[in-house]
């Protein structure tokens, strides 16, 4: 299509800087040009042909925080950022995965939820490796998916549960009831482990305030594979902790003089060295509270992945700055039977 200057348009050009408002509004007139000829008339243009195809993401062998955290972040970001401009749907090829864990499964589900909220269909397969396949099936991931044949995957396995604990607002009832189930699995008794309810509440609080305003959602899950301990994962998609800190000018100068890396900044946030972006004096209590539960032994093996930092509260050697940036925050921790027995006897 070409644009041809019409009479009124030319008038506007001539009269520029004068009384333009007295002139007619410029009009654009379509001039019909013959359609372009394709090299082969039988072949559809590339963009139309692609539009009917899936965009396939092939996941690497290591999809776990221990063996492949960088890859896991890279691929979950790739899923989250998928735009359906040229493809009809997204296909997740998980068949080659040889190492998988709950944290990465939850990160993936967060990203899939982001894509699905943009009304893009997501399809996928499962790991071929029998151990990974078992972990994947038991994780509760599939209970958030639809079958291609129609209907939802159902899970009657109470040992594993992934719940969406909020979209616009956190749902403390759901957090509490999910934790009740987890406690019963380990101890056989149903009682409130208040500390974990409080901790997850604070995690949700932070993310409610600072998660993306569009497509907000928060995933919370536990996974019990027998034995004496249970794993919990909390995940959100948002700006991440580091981007929500309010650093004073003094802190910024001091941190740059001492070449303080992001790992030290994140550790500082859990020690209340920085304020919250809300700038209210009584804020940023949640992160120190979360750390205090780890320090006093109410939870064990607490880790956090946020922005480009992996922070292990047990081991500073394992903590590191990452090459890939995760948009959001993931916490994982464990609770064992000893912790719960001690708690219930108080």
């Amino acid at each position: 299509m070409r644009l041809k200057l019409t009479r009124s348009y030319r008038l506007a050009v001539v009269a520029r800087g004068k009384k333009l408002h007295t002139l007619k509004v410029s009009r654009r007139v379509k001039v019909h040009t013959p359609p372009r000829m394709y090299q082969e008339n039988t072949t559809k243009p590339e963009r139309i042909r692609k539009k009917q195809e899936a965009f396939k993401i092939v996941f690497p062998g290591n999809f776990s925080i221990e063996k492949g955290l960088e890859d896991a972040i890279f691929y979950t970001n790739k899923v989250r950022d998928f735009k359906a401009r040229h493809f009809s749907h997204l296909f997740l090829d998980l068949s080659k995965i040889k190492n998988i864990d709950l944290v990465c499964i939850v990160m993936l589900l967060s990203s899939v939820n982001q894509v699905a909220s943009r009304r893009i269909p997501v399809f996928g397969n499962q790991p071929l490796d029998p151990i990974c396949n078992d972990i994947f099936n038991k994780s509760g991931f599939l209970s958030h998916m639809n079958k291609i044949s129609g209907g939802k995957f159902t899970s009657s396995d109470e040992h594993n549960l992934i719940v969406k604990i909020g979209t616009d607002k956190a749902n403390p009832d759901l957090i509490g009831k999910t934790n009740l189930k987890a406690v019963k699995l380990l101890t056989g008794k149903e009682f409130h482990f208040k500390k974990i309810n409080s901790m997850v509440g604070e995690m949700a609080g932070n993310t409610m305030e600072f998660a993306y305003s569009i497509n907000k959602h928060y995933l919370y899950c536990y996974n019990y594979c027998g034995g004496d301990e249970i794993t919990f994962v909390f995940s959100d998609v948002g700006y991440g902790i580091i981007n929500t800190l309010n650093k004073s000018v003094g802190h910024i100068i001091k941190d740059s003089v001492t070449f303080k890396d992001k790992l030290a900044v994140l550790s500082g946030a859990f020690e209340k060295k920085y304020g919250s972006k809300t700038e209210e004096v009584n804020r940023n209590q949640g992160l120190p509270f979360i750390k205090s539960l780890s320090s006093e032994g109410s939870v064990k093996d607490l880790i956090v992945i946020t922005n480009d930092v992996y922070l292990d509260f047990n081991s500073s050697d394992k903590s590191k700055v990452l090459s890939n940036k995760y948009s959001g925050t993931v916490y994982a921790w464990k609770v064992n039977k000893i912790i719960l027995d001690n708690y219930s006897s108080i």
Binding site: A170, S198, G201, E202, E280, N282, G286
Partner: protein, 142 residues
């Protein structure tokens, strides 16, 4: 004589986060629906308000901070200590938290007139004014 609030029966077994905008059963909601009115009742009768925190599923610190902090902001720390007793036998650490954190910071906010954030509009609530009288507040003007 005393007036009692049992959070688990009068409000929720699972108290939520700081603000109404971010959570169900929030500290902001608890303050405006229950705590402010009951405290005023106790204050005006010269009685004690007994707030029992036990038997819930646990509290996020922000719930405690927002609800009781607003009470300090509206009535002053001196009046709150005079008319409020908090029972937390199952989690005594909340009493330490209030004494070391919420009370001093919210009293500071009150003195500095750093207006608390309200995420929805509320029915008018009771507040002690500068001349020592209780008035109904229709909302803070910034």
């Amino acid at each position: 004589m005393s007036i009692n609030i049992f959070v688990h029966t009068d409000f929720s077994v699972y108290p939520g986060l700081r603000h109404v905008s971010m959570s169900q059963s929030s500290g902001e909601e608890f303050y405006h629906k229950i705590l402010n009115g009951k405290f005023y009742e106790a204050y005006s009768k010269g009685e004690m308000l007994v707030l029992n925190l036990d038997n819930t599923g646990g509290y996020p610190p922000s719930f405690i901070d927002e609800s009781i902090g607003n009470l300090v902001y509206d009535f002053s720390l001196a009046k709150v200590k005079e008319h409020l007793t908090i029972i937390s036998e199952q989690e005594p650490s909340w009493l330490d938290y209030l004494n070391s954190h919420t009370y001093p910071l919210w009293e500071q906010r009150r003195i500095e007139k750093s207006i608390p954030k309200k995420t929805i509009s509320h029915e008018p609530w009771y507040q002690l004014n500068n001349s020592g009288n209780v008035t109904l507040n229709n909302g803070y003007s910034e």
